[in-house]
């Protein structure tokens, strides 16, 4: 129950990324902004060290595990009613453990957060299993609070699945380059234009985008080179192979990329998912006016985050085998877009 009370503290920032070990340099820079939070209310964050958190976590996990075993092994038919409340108590302990992870996730390394989440997930699964073992027929009461109105019947929704198949609306395309081969594709974004852009289904093309952008979507490129000016929002890259990207953006997400190099400047941590053979290096683009554009997009500062890649498919503390830092000897060195090329 204590965990619940902790939630009454407003303005909590729990983003786990802020205090990753690799992140300390950035943390220091941000310390003015983050300081009030880190120093505020020390009582509600008693751990702030991975080890003490993990030992508390495994203690709780252990006690939940043994409670569950006890419930499972109880054979006395008279104890059903106490069993029910015992299982409820276990359910509450699991929720509390979950809150503990959430509240401390801002300083935990990302793989610890993921591991803890998996542990919680499997605890919930065991609870479900034990519950259905001990109370085979009836659904257990606390699983859903049934309101008398506004309840969506399960079968009713399933009927709607049929509708899911037929598209009721033709979706238009975003402005962008698509379906081309062996081309040099150039676009300059000027002044207040700040567009969003989509680049898809290209083979062996070179794409040069200069000026400030708001968002970029990239999908299905093969053997392409993509150079862009700063992006104020996010870049989403999916299904690319054999490509080189030189990008500056506030956020970068890469999904299903193979054998590609990324020269990045990023405000936050770049993330990859389902990637292999991807390599990372610092941003190296220049064109006339890029300094101004970077400043305008709040990307003039090198955060070093290009190397702080989080692999959503890699849980462990050791380096992910899916990505590496590009050796300097293999770096392209620098890319310049001349005015005549724009």
């Amino acid at each position: 129950m204590e965990g619940e009370e902790d939630l009454s503290n407003p303005n909590k920032t729990l983003d786990p990324t802020y205090s990753h070990p690799k992140h300390t340099a950035m943390l220091e820079r941000l310390s003015n902004r983050k300081q009030p939070f880190l120093s505020r209310n020390p009582d509600s964050h008693p751990f702030e060290s991975t080890n003490s958190f993990l030992s508390r976590f495994s203690q709780s996990k252990h006690s939940i595990d043994s409670d569950l075993t006890r419930c499972r092994q109880s054979t006395d038919p008279d104890s059903k009613s106490t069993l029910k409340s015992d299982l409820e108590a276990v359910s509450i302990s699991i929720s509390d453990l979950e809150k503990l992870v959430a509240e401390n996730s801002y300083f935990l390394p990302s793989y610890e957060v993921r591991t803890c989440l998996q542990t919680i997930s499997s605890l919930k699964q065991s609870l479900e299993n034990v519950t259905s073992e001990v109370f085979p027929k009836k659904k257990f009461a606390f699983k859903s609070k049934k309101a008398s109105s506004g309840v969506l019947d399960k079968t009713e929704i399933e009927n709607h699945d049929v509708d899911l198949e037929k598209p009721s609306f033709i979706v238009p395309d975003l402005p962008g380059f698509r379906n081309m081969e062996n081309e040099v594709l150039v676009k300059e974004f000027k002044g207040s234009e700040m567009g969003e852009f989509s680049i898809s289904d290209l083979n062996s093309c070179e794409v040069r985008l200069t000026g400030c952008l708001r968002a970029i979507f990239i999908h299905r490129l093969k053997n392409c080179k993509v150079y862009t000016g700063p992006v104020f929002g996010s870049v989403l890259i999916e299904e690319v192979e054999g490509c080189v990207f030189v990008l500056a953006s506030h956020q970068i997400r890469v999904h299903h990329a193979r054998a590609s190099d990324f020269y990045l400047r990023v405000r936050s941590r770049p993330i990859i998912e389902d990637c292999s053979g991807v390599r990372f290096a610092p941003y190296c683009l220049s064109y006339d006016g890029i300094e101004r554009d970077l400043k305008e997009s709040n990307l003039d500062e090198e955060t070093g985050n290009w190397a702080n890649v989080d692999d959503f498919k890699w849980l462990k503390a050791v380096q992910s085998p899916n990505w590496e830092i590009l050796p300097e000897s293999e770096s392209v060195g620098g890319v310049t877009i001349l005015n005549s090329d724009k």
Binding site: I92, S95, G150, L152, S168, F169, R214, I271
Partner: protein, 158 residues
């Protein structure tokens, strides 16, 4: 029923609301939560686990759970269904290519029995982007009309 859980339920009924924010990665969930809370949004990393924000609103305490939307961690969403009062589904209205994915995940979620008592809000985000679909268009694309009318859903944008 255990005493603790009875107390907990009464307490919850009176003033606590649990809001779950979900949606595909990159839709803007964390940005929205931080904005609502008046916090700096200049450095936000894709969410690896989840964040909880507690916001006081009138007599209510809103516990907002912001859960990461990357594909790998979507299977964790189900960990947060229990006792959810409000479900906010955030859509990147400019991510036209992944609208199918978005529709699939949303309808998948709505099959979940444990969420059946929760109100649903569809948040058509990124309306400032030129090529973004309007909330009406989002309604059509996501096939929201197919939802049961007893479920309360609304389109909203920043």
């Amino acid at each position: 029923m255990g005493l603790l859980s009875i107390i907990r339920k009464i307490k919850r009924k009176e003033k606590e609301m649990r809001i779950l924010m979900v949606g595909l990665d990159n839709s803007g969930k964390t940005t929205i939560v931080l904005k609502i809370n008046g916090e700096d949004t200049s450095v936000i990393s894709p969410t690896l686990g989840f964040n909880i924000k507690t916001i006081a609103y009138n007599k209510y305490t809103l516990n907002i759970w912001d859960v990461g939307g990357q594909r790998t961690i979507r299977s964790y969403w189900r960990n947060y269904f229990e006792q959810t009062d409000g479900l906010v589904w955030v859509v990147d209205s400019s991510d036209l290519r992944r609208l199918d994915d978005c529709k699939f995940e949303l309808h998948n979620l709505l099959k979940e029995e444990r969420l059946s008592g929760a109100s649903l809000l569809i948040f058509a985000n990124k309306q400032d982007i030129q090529g973004a679909l309007s909330p009406d268009e989002i309604t059509k694309v996501l096939n929201l009309e197919a939802l049961d009318k007893t479920r309360h859903w609304e389109n909203y944008w920043l």
